[in-house]
């Protein structure tokens, strides 16, 4: 059943220009960031670190844009009434939607392969590290997506869903960054500070971008996905009538 729902959602990303626009912008910005801002060539290192370092910031805006229509659109057009009175559960619909969007994100990542070819042509990178970074990036994208879908379930308006998702994602990215941690350093105990930093997508992604696949990082993203999807489930159940 999830498969049927997944196919519908996945096809709908390509029936509307959403998937194409997303992939195109992602590839363009990814390239611009790694070559111009990340100094891909000047660093003289055969790795994709400058490319992956910008992923959290790319996802910050692109993924909420992709997730915003998932539930808002259903509520706005009334199709939520249709789908909820078919013999499928909210969870099945949620998973179908999530997996479909996650696959589009995965596809966008796969299409960055020319970069990988380039770095392999220019030098001898550790492809294991690159693979781990890709996996980490995809997992992080999933967490962003789950947040976006939860926010989309909260409101009929796609714009509101987008803004909410960007704000929440921003908090999760930022909570591990120097600016925030410095601000809290004065009056928080180191343990609280560590806890705060451990919620950040950045902290967990950085080690994966360097090729370390630790169980706690993978687990963190999977749990984050689960929790936010559950939040979305509650929102759909509570607010479907409005």
């Amino acid at each position: 059943m999830v498969g049927t729902l997944f196919r519908r959602e996945f096809a709908s990303y390509f029936a509307t220009p959403v998937a194409y626009v997303f992939i195109l912008i992602f590839l363009m910005l990814g390239g611009v960031f790694s070559f111009y801002i990340g100094n891909f060539y000047e660093r003289g290192q055969a790795d994709l670190l400058p490319f992956f370092n910008f992923h959290p910031w790319l996802y910050l805006f692109l993924v909420p844009a992709m997730a915003m229509r998932s539930w808002s659109e259903e509520r706005k057009s009334g199709t939520i009434e249709l789908i909820m009175t078919l013999p499928v559960t909210i969870w099945q619909v949620m998973l179908g939607k999530f997996l479909a969007a996650w696959m589009v994100l995965g596809l966008a990542l796969i299409l960055t392969f020319p970069l990988w070819l380039t770095v392999n042509y220019l030098g001898n990178p550790d492809n294991g590290i690159i693979l781990a970074a890709y996996l980490g990036s995809w997992l992080m994208a999933g967490a962003f997506l789950a947040i976006g879908m939860c926010m989309s379930a909260l409101t009929k308006s796609q714009v509101v869903a987008f803004i909410l998702a960007v704000v929440v994602c921003f908090l999760f990215v930022l909570s591990g960054s120097g600016i925030v941690l410095d601000a809290f350093k004065g009056w928080m105990s180191p343990m609280m500070l560590d806890t705060l930093a451990s919620f950040s997508f950045l902290t967990h992604f950085e080690s994966m971008a360097k090729g370390v696949i630790a169980l706690n990082d993978v687990g963190y993203f999977l749990i984050a996905i689960g929790i936010w999807l559950y939040g979305g489930f509650l929102a759909v159940e509570q607010k479907k009538a409005e």
């Binding site: 096809a11 199709t79 009434e81 009175t85």
Partner: protein, 307 residues
């Protein structure tokens, strides 16, 4: 069989549905009538398991809707208000999707799809995105979706709203042609639809049930039921008509000159009226018995509630 007991739905302080109880048996085609905001759609949303009731009980095929929503929904077809559908899909893709979700497979799926597409005459529009279709075709897609799995219970929320007279006629025929052992509930605010399609009419206003009987009974409630309308060729003294036995009241419509005679207690006054006319040699160019005016009854009933 559907059994509803003391059904209530509260939105904040607003009571959308207030203590409804009724039973529907196979073969019943029920017309839900009521002004806008009467609670028709809310009731249907609860019947289909989309909204949980605030209190009360809904049982369909002896299963509680709250506990076994998914089992019930398998045997239920539903056209929500406004016939929502995924606009980016074509009718063919959409119906295929619904068929998959409904668990139709292989040959059976092919047959049902072909049959339903023919029933709603959708064949010419199969490959256009639904969002580009006209209102009438969108409605047909919604109907096709609802009857695709040949459900035992069919719930249609305003199936003919926004359709032109030909399309309305088609939809009514389609509903009448469904097999006789099904339960059909349609909501509408078009009264003629109830007399032409349904064998049972329920009037709801302010969330309450005001009337539940056959459409004929509804007509019988009208002041005009069995009233005699007549029109005289020339001006004549007709005051004697009002004095006839069984005639309670007489009204003359100013602009048309039509005379309406209202019977006492729904008696048959045609014989006395026609005898009177014959005896006096009055020139009448029109004379007929009224069926009862539904919109009159409807307005009268629902006005009491809204006051």
């Amino acid at each position: 069989m559907i059994s509803v007991k003391n059904l209530c739905k509260q939105f904040g302080s607003f009571k959308a549905v207030d203590n409804l109880s009724f039973e529907v048996r196979p073969g019943d085609i029920v017309g839900f009538l009521g002004p806008n905001g009467a609670g028709k759609s809310t009731t249907m949303k609860m019947l289909t398991g989309f909204l949980p009731p605030s209190s009360g009980e809904i049982r369909i095929f002896d299963q509680d809707i709250l506990q076994s929503a998914k089992q019930i929904q398998r045997r239920l077809g539903y056209l929500p208000e406004g016939a929502p559908a995924y606009g980016d899909m074509t009718p063919l893709q959409f119906l295929n999707f619904i068929a998959d979700v409904r668990g139709l497979k292989g040959e059976q799926k092919k047959q049902r799809l072909a049959k339903v597409i023919d029933m709603v005459e959708l064949r010419s529009m199969l490959d256009r995105p639904i969002e580009n279709l006209s209102k009438g075709f969108k409605r047909r897609v919604g109907l096709a979706q609802a009857i695709l799995h040949d459900p035992q219970v069919l719930i249609l929320d305003e199936p003919t709203d926004g359709l032109d007279p030909n399309q309305k006629h088609q939809v009514r025929e389609l509903i009448q042609n469904l097999s006789k052992d099904k339960i059909v509930i349609i909501s509408t605010h078009i009264l003629e639809e109830v007399t032409s399609v349904c064998n049972r009419a329920m009037i709801i206003a302010g969330g309450k049930m005001l009337f539940d009987a056959s459409p004929d009974d509804l007509q019988r409630r009208s002041r005009y039921y069995k009233a005699i309308s007549l029109h005289f060729t020339q001006m004549t003294d007709i005051s004697g008509l009002a004095e006839l036995p069984g005639v309670e009241d007489m009204e003359i419509e100013k602009h048309s000159g039509r005379v309406v005679l209202f019977p006492e207690r729904q008696q048959d006054i045609m014989p006395v009226v026609s005898a009177y006319i014959r005896d006096r040699g009055l020139q009448v160019d029109r004379l007929y018995e009224e069926q009862g005016r539904l919109d009159d009854v409807f307005r009268q009933m629902t006005a009491e509630v809204s006051e």
